[in-house]
Subunit: 146 residues, 2 copies
Amino acid sequence: MSDSRELSAELAADAASDASETSAAPAFDTAVLKFNADGLIPAVVQDVESLQVLMLGWMDAEAVRRSATSGRATYWSRSRQEYWRKGDTSGHIQEVVAMHYDCDADTILLTVKQTGAACHTGSRSCFDDRVIPVTTQAQETQAGEK
Amino acid sequence: MSDSRELSAELAADAASDASETSAAPAFDTAVLKFNADGLIPAVVQDVESLQVLMLGWMDAEAVRRSATSGRATYWSRSRQEYWRKGDTSGHIQEVVAMHYDCDADTILLTVKQTGAACHTGSRSCFDDRVIPVTTQAQETQAGEK
């Protein structure tokens, strides 16, 4: 944690505080965030009601800005190379409730109110049903005790 | 918060059910997963009890295998260029409860039992306190009504 990062966090907190006092859009400098070589940052998307992790999307600085100011989650589609405002085609929109970034400033956590399915397959979450089997020693012992 | 508690219970039940079916390590071919140009895949880490998103780590195929078979969350440290078994230094271990991958097979969701703080700053989650201010039309209207 460099001093500059702490300062950045303080500035962000100040901005959040300012936002509650005024109706004007609060300033957030996306330069605080660390984007990868493609200019993108991963955004973890969590359902505000169930707390289920719905998906992971990618954002460039403009997608961060649009998500924070439009109220609608907006990503950068790496496959289509264009902005993708979630739900414009499917109707399964995501209303942005809150946005946080992590200690390294290289990941965003997006809290959303999800309409319908988050996944293009029709599942509520993109992580439904795709299991990597986990075998811990404790589980092996338990099974061995039968 | 009954929804989140139910989801938590379901995750735990799923994990227990998976474990009770066999004592042998189940085979999972990591070739199913899509790793990036650096051979890495992002892993979203969620607390099995609170459902809080704790952090995002990166795994190569070997880290996926170690996490799935050792019971301890293991990542690839991009800064140190070495495997990083969470908690070996801090004591803040993550016991792997379940692992899922998403519809594009390019993101992992790791469900863990977290000991202590997940974040190196001492915070429970890496996303604590770092806010990107969100201004939705609804909020603007609300502020305007004051």
